[in-house]
């Protein structure tokens, strides 16, 4: 059964003339990892906000169509109920801090406090998160004193603390250095192994190709392309919809033009290495 289902969904922000999302329909199964890609202003964040219920609950505006989360209409979820079903990590780390907690340790527990998790369980979960997110040195610091990347890690950990079944990550690595980006993707891999359903909005297409099993390409508020990663990210049509292709794919497409060879186009460096090695090119 689909855990996320959008049927003929269109949306217009208040006071805007045009719809930012136009007749979008798709379904996401439990445990899948979807890469949500597209050019800036294409409507990726709006789709995330619709799935999280912030549209129209907080943003208002006109929403048409049907949105179902775990087979239940999104509007039938009670106050704060969706927070423990759909976790959302935002693009801007500076506004993701609750602003009421004095230490990172307490910040991690804030969401759990709100849903009434018993204290012992909270301590247990917070300790685990500190280990997973490497927050040992930051746990006693004030969240406002952290750098952008550190705040992003704390915000992500605070969201995971609620143990949501669906996780939306809106450009989680936009403020991070390469090493922290790698750490975040290790966590994404961990969440994937735990069977979480993940929607990942990201411009680092090589990482999308490596970690996501499905792609939703949004272009001008409409679905440009949808399907399995291998199918979508090896298709040059992605470029016409304002999307990007992984470096490896671009290289192999160019090679094909020159050599006329056929066969599977690799998505990752690892796959490319295997193909090239097989063909005798080291």
């Amino acid at each position: 059964m689909a855990v996320i289902s959008l049927k003929n969904v269109s949306y217009r922000y208040p006071l805007e003339e045009n719809q930012v999302i136009k007749n979008v329909s798709f379904e996401i199964e439990k445990g899948q990892v979807w890469g949500l890609i597209g050019a800036n202003e294409s409507g990726k964040t709006s789709i995330c906000n619709i799935i999280r219920g912030f549209i129209p609950e907080i943003y208002r505006g006109e929403l048409e169509g049907e949105v179902e989360i775990k087979g239940k209409k999104i509007e039938s979820y009670g106050d704060g109920e969706l927070a423990s079903v759909v976790g959302y990590s935002f693009q801007n780390p500076f506004t993701q801090i609750s602003g009421v907690k004095e230490t990172v340790y307490e910040e991690l527990a804030y969401g759990m406090e709100n849903i009434g998790v018993p204290r012992d369980e909270m301590i247990d979960r917070v300790e685990k998160l500190i280990q997973i997110f490497h927050l040992e040195k930051l746990k006693d610091k004030n969240p406002f004193q952290l750098s952008g990347g550190q705040k992003q890690r704390v915000a992500l950990a605070s969201m995971i603390a609620l143990d949501p079944e669906i996780v939306i990550l809106d450009e989680p690595t936009s403020q991070l250095d390469p090493q922290s980006t790698e750490e975040i993707f290790e966590i994404i891999q961990l969440l994937k192994e735990q069977g979480k359903t993940i929607i990942l909005v990201e411009h680092k297409i090589d990482l999308i190709a490596e970690y996501c099993d499905h792609i939703l390409l949004i272009s001008g508020g409409e679905i440009g392309m949808i399907g399995e990663t291998e199918e979508v990210l090896t298709d040059p049509k992605v470029l016409t919809y304002g999307g990007q292709l992984p470096q490896v794919v671009l290289y192999f497409l160019e090679r094909r033009k020159k050599t006329g060879e056929k066969g599977k186009i690799p998505l990752t460096v690892e796959q490319a290495y295997k193909i090239l090695k097989k063909g005798g090119r080291n």
Binding site: R52, F54, I58, G78, D79, G80, E81, A83, S84, G87, Y88, F90, N92, F94, T95, Q96, I97, S98, G99, V100, K101, E102, Y105, E106, A109, Y110, G111, M112, E113, N114, I115, G116, V117, P118, R119, M122, I123, V126, F144, A155, S158, M159, L162
Partner: protein
């Protein structure tokens, strides 16, 4: 906050403060009220906040008191006013009035300042939540306290941005005042702009959940708290009996 006084339960400290405020308001004269000041200094010293208390007191309340004395004793013209020079005169009635007025200000303000200096805001919000105060109210208290350093950091960023674009922000009072006004607009607008994102961040942490809130931070009343609570009640009853009889 790590002293024995700092570790007392907030409601206990509040009860003590309230009792002493009641004594200060309803006891005639000014001797007892002025005696509150050395008492509070002593409490602050025991709590390790003596320096902080004296600093706050002399930078704020003391100036107000001096101002009241000057106006009441030398400026306001009472019937017993004795001319000194020009518009200045000495009035015994003014002196008595200002002693009575300032003694209460000294007592109450010292007690309130001391209470907030020896009590962590986290402890106050925890105690309020435990006593059934809605979480929206406690959120408002905590976020307001946290907002001050945030706003000052934001104003520094704006000032730096303006400085890098050639606006003079350092120098005499006039230059600083001139730089302050154009900073207000972006400061207020950025703060408003951030509110929307903050709402989303809070909502993603189930802020609007109707489930009873729990807390990872824990604080319990100890024997000393119960003893002080009982002493406060006894002190209050004894004071009423003394005032009535």
């Amino acid at each position: 906050m790590n002293s024995s006084i700092g570790k007392l339960y907030p409601s206990t400290k509040f009860a003590v403060m309230l009792l002493l405020v009641i004594f200060s308001i309803f006891t005639p004269g000014y001797v007892m009220q002025y005696l509150m000041f050395p008492l509070v200094v002593l409490i602050s010293l025991c709590a390790g906040t003596g320096k902080q208390f004296l600093g706050t007191f002399f930078k704020s309340i003391f100036i107000i008191i001096l101002f009241i004395f000057a106006i009441q004793v030398f400026i306001i013209s009472n019937e017993d006013a004795q001319p000194i020079w020009g518009f200045l005169h000495f009035s015994q009635t003014g002196l008595n009035d200002s002693l009575s007025m300032t003694s209460k200000i000294v007592a109450i303000s010292s007690l309130v300042i001391c209470f907030f200096q020896v009590t962590n805001i986290k402890d106050i919000t925890y105690a309020l939540e435990r006593s059934g105060v809605p979480k929206k109210v406690t959120f408002l208290i905590s976020s307001t306290i946290q907002l001050i350093p945030q706003m000052s950091a934001l104003s520094k960023t704006i000032t730096d941005a303006q400085k890098s674009r050639g606006i003079e922000t350092e120098g005499n009072m006039l230059i600083r005042a001139k730089a302050f006004v154009p900073m207000l607009g972006p400061l207020v607008l950025s703060s408003i702009q951030q509110t929307e994102e903050r709402v989303l961040a809070l909502e993603s942490r189930a802020f609007s959940s109707r489930t009873k809130k729990t807390s990872i931070y824990e604080m319990k009343k100890k024997t000393a708290d119960y003893i002080l609570d009982i002493l406060c009640i006894a002190g209050f009853i004894a004071y009423i009996l003394w005032r009535v009889m």
